[in-house]
Symmetry: C2
């Protein structure tokens, strides 16, 4: 339930201390049903949110109905630092699953940031990571093939979920339809389906209900050119947990 604490542990040596300060700010719990809007275009949001459970998505809808998912928000993710600027949202955020959140008042948040350098650098790290993920999304959309996009996104989400859960699993609970994936990856649902079938046949992944199992991380990472540096995680040594040694030992794949 302390997804944010877990995430911080990927970066800071003192996640508990920071986490205590956060709680001390005074957070208000909230809940959104799957499908509900969390932030609507054109509205001004006047609080920050930390997701404690569930998935949300940030997207833009074009006039003719096309939709582009800009990123996924997982447990432990914080948004919108934008809210501090009291500007109208130019995009929407909505709940993909049932989502529970903690909301924080911007005023209190800013005060705490000023008081503690450790806290503010933790948040700054989170903001930088988020922007980095967004840049990688642009690269994925602009310069990768369908198969690369899917593999790359799966590996990213798995990494991020492990970070949020404090786990180290090869499997990922993925509450996304082919339409969601397509809208995130700039593809059609039909093509996502076909490509993922091929990936299953190739022994790269397995799927059971909403569970995705990464069967061959090495190969999947290679073929999708996944390099997790952009997540700015401290080097968790994944190789310790896997049978085969990576071909580039110095780098964690």
């Amino acid at each position: 339930m302390h997804a944010f604490r877990n995430r911080l542990a990927q970066y800071s040596d003192i996640p508990d201390k920071v986490w205590n300060v956060i709680q001390d700010i005074g957070t208000k719990p909230g809940h959104f049903k799957a499908g509900a809007d969390i932030i609507r275009v054109g509205e001004i949001t006047d609080s920050l949110f930390i997701i404690s459970t569930g998935w949300a998505t940030r997207f833009r809808t074009l006039e003719d109905g096309r939709r582009q998912i800009v990123n996924f928000m997982l447990p432990g993710d914080i948004f919108d630092l934008q809210a501090l600027a009291r500007m109208e949202a130019d995009h929407s955020v909505s709940a993909l699953t049932d989502v529970s959140i903690l909301s924080i008042s911007p005023q209190k948040f800013i005060r705490k940031m000023r008081e503690s350098g450790e806290v503010s650098s933790a948040f700054w790290w989170a903001a930088v990571q988020e922007e980095s993920i967004l840049r990688e999304q642009a690269v994925r959309l602009g310069r990768r093939s369908a198969r690369e996009r899917i593999g790359h996104l799966l590996l990213e989400l798995q990494r991020r979920m492990n970070g949020a859960l404090g786990s180290n699993a090869e499997q990922l609970s993925l509450p996304l339809t082919r339409v969601d994936l397509a809208d995130a990856l700039g593809l059609t649902p039909v093509h996502v389906s076909r490509t993922m079938s091929a990936m299953r046949s190739a022994g790269l992944i397995e799927e059971h209900r909403g569970l995705v199992l990464i069967r061959d991380r090495q190969r999947l990472a290679r073929l999708s050119h996944f390099d997790p540096d952009y997540l700015h995680l401290r080097k968790l040594d994944y190789s310790r947990f896997s049978e085969d040694t990576p071909d580039v030992p110095s780098k964690v794949v």
Copy 2:
């Protein structure tokens, strides 16, 4: 020469005051030749930059040479607020033209931010705008056709350049090759060339050397679904300056 001041004027009523504070922080001028690296992957940058003249670009290069330009940095743009986190760059920034910059020490910057609410909200606005532009880039790459991408980017750049120069011109000095455009738009240079030829024949734009003239803003905006809300500019009434009335009068196209 005060591109940053001009940009602020799009947002704040007191650009001069903010600008004075910036200068007061102590900025150090610098210069990069066209093609030079400003930030290299893997390095930690320890200062902030404001571009005063010239264009720079932020991009990622994949192992096999594919390149994706993530965004363009124009006069008045500030980067990298990331530098405050002292994290390794996961992408590169390099000068497209000769670029002159002002660099600011992060420590001094943070101190000033704390001292003045007006200054910090001005910078916050700039950061939010930048992120917004990045999101729009993702939408462009994921869900728009080649013609829409090109039209949309041209209109964005024109708007941003006008903001930086404090001007209101229908023409844009565009120091980009077809390869640059292709790398920004997720296309091939060949296709960019063909599509732009078609746009010229259609009377949408004109090109002379590095100058692009927007011939038919209305039509170009409509066909590329350009809606400048994401730039979070205060509503500059462009319709005052154009002959024909927009079909949606309330919105500035």
